[in-house]
């Protein structure tokens, strides 16, 4: 008889770092309990499980705590190896990890700053576009970053760019990723939007745009 798996995910509904975890769990058909945290009022449980960074997402699996979204994604792939999200090939894996970091660090930073800084907006938007161009090149001839099916990098890029940053830009009336300059990227987004598990894991659009505006105002007034 299989041991009962206990999976709990602590998160914040608007966080792209969270949403990608949910996509992976759903792809693998793993049932989980979700605990919604508040950004400004962190629960004692969160502070106990992640005392160093005090951040979401936090995955608890049979009593063991796993932190950091990219670490969690790899953990999920190893703990539940069916429906793999990463290639077995070491080189392909290194490329996926490299781009994931580019997205979570440079693209995330440039993207948010481009919204928060009214003064250097054009330059920052241009910088973000340059970074996203690297992803555009990766998508040539592929349905998804993972090839024929969705995987690790699709979840990372999807949760961050079309289903987070782009909503923020939309809220500000900015069109950063155009059909003309990013045809592959646009095609990939359409592919992503057809995938059931992705659709289930995207924050509700209007609420999300409103939330992004709120976050930007908060950063500006800080």
């Amino acid at each position: 008889m299989a041991e009962k798996e206990e999976v709990k995910l602590l998160g914040i509904w608007a966080s792209p770092f969270n949403r990608r975890i949910e996509m992976a769990l759903k792809l693998k058909g793993i049932p989980y309990d979700y605990v919604e945290e508040k950004l400004l009022d962190k629960s004692p449980l969160l502070l106990e499980l992640n005392p160093i960074h005090k951040k979401v997402p936090v995955l608890v699996h049979n009593g063991k705590t796993i932190l950091e979204s990219l670490v969690i994604l790899e953990y999920i792939d190893e703990a539940w190896p069916h429906n793999p999200i990463l290639s077995q090939d070491p080189y392909e894996r290194s490329k996926a990890r490299f781009f994931a970091k580019l997205i979570d660090e440079q693209i995330f930073d440039a993207g948010f700053v481009s919204m928060a800084r009214a003064d250097e907006k054009e330059a920052l938007v241009e910088k973000t576009r340059e970074l996203i161009m690297h992803l555009e090149k990766e998508l040539v001839g592929k349905d998804f970053f993972g090839g024929k099916s969705v995987g690790f990098l699709d979840f990372v890029a999807g949760s961050m760019i079309p289903f987070c940053l782009e909503r923020g830009w939309e809220g500000m009336g900015l069109e950063v990723i155009t059909e003309e300059k990013f045809p592959e990227f646009k095609r990939w987004v359409k592919n992503m939007e057809k995938i059931e598990i992705v659709k289930e894991c995207i924050p509700p659009r209007e609420k999300h745009i409103e939330h992004m505006n709120f976050m930007v105002q908060r950063v500006r007034s800080a």
């Binding site: 796993i66 950091e68 990219l70 953990y75 190893e78 703990a79 070491p90 080189y91 990890r97 490299f98």
Partner: protein, 206 residues
């Protein structure tokens, strides 16, 4: 016949050292190309066009960039000898978390110590000592971060070559604050793969 992998590096780079330790742990023969930060080689610019940084490992013509990626890659491409990770998913996630911690908190803090002055430097020192304390408590009484054998998180050791520089710039003693960590560092240095790969501390201070 597969050709030797090539490592593009810069001698005092902590991140470059990680790649060197990883390759030596696996007993992989590699061609070592030391570059110059101010005059980046065409090979580097071609292999890492996005960041233009070392280390880059070129294996079978394909470039692997970012030091932690190189360490992961080396472990996966040469799986038979000295695995860097525990085999269970949780152990691996745990190790990856600590490496991420080292890369973010420790790395930022140490940069402030030698790269900045005044208030920022003081801040760096405080963050460094805090990070060292956290790492010490993670190490506990184990001989290595991974347990009984040298592993992934132990690649933190490459920062050790810079400890003398931190102490000089920051004007503080690391050993006084964290004897366990220093004891661990000395243990790692006894391994040939490590001592051969770490650049001379004296040269770094200079």
């Amino acid at each position: 016949m597969a050709s030797q992998p090539i490592l593009l590096d810069y001698w005092p780079s902590i991140f470059g050292m990680r790649a060197r330790v990883a390759l030596r742990e696996k007993g992989v023969e590699f061609e070592y190309k030391v570059g110059d930060l101010t005059n980046k080689s065409p090979l580097l610019l071609q292999s890492n066009p996005i960041h233009k940084k070392i280390p880059v490992l070129i294996h079978n013509g394909k470039p692997v960039c970012e030091s932690l990626n190189v360490v992961h890659y080396v472990d996966e491409a040469w799986p038979d000898k000295n695995p860097f990770f525990p085999s269970d998913p949780y152990g691996r996630a745990h190790a990856r978390f600590w490496d991420d911690f080292v890369d973010k908190k420790f790395s930022e803090a140490q940069f402030k110590i030698w790269g900045k002055k005044g208030e920022e430097q003081e801040e760096g020192k405080k963050e460094f000592i805090e990070a060292v304390k956290i790492l010490e408590s993670e190490l506990g009484d184990k001989p290595y971060f991974g347990g009984d054998s040298f592993g992934y998180v132990d690649s933190l050791i490459t920062f050790y070559s810079w400890f003398q520089a931190y102490e000089k710039f920051g004007n503080f003693s690391i050993e006084a604050k964290s004897p366990k960590l220093i004891a661990w560092a000395k243990r790692c240095m006894e391994k040939e793969s490590v001592s051969k790969s770490l650049s001379d501390s004296e040269k770094i201070v200079a």
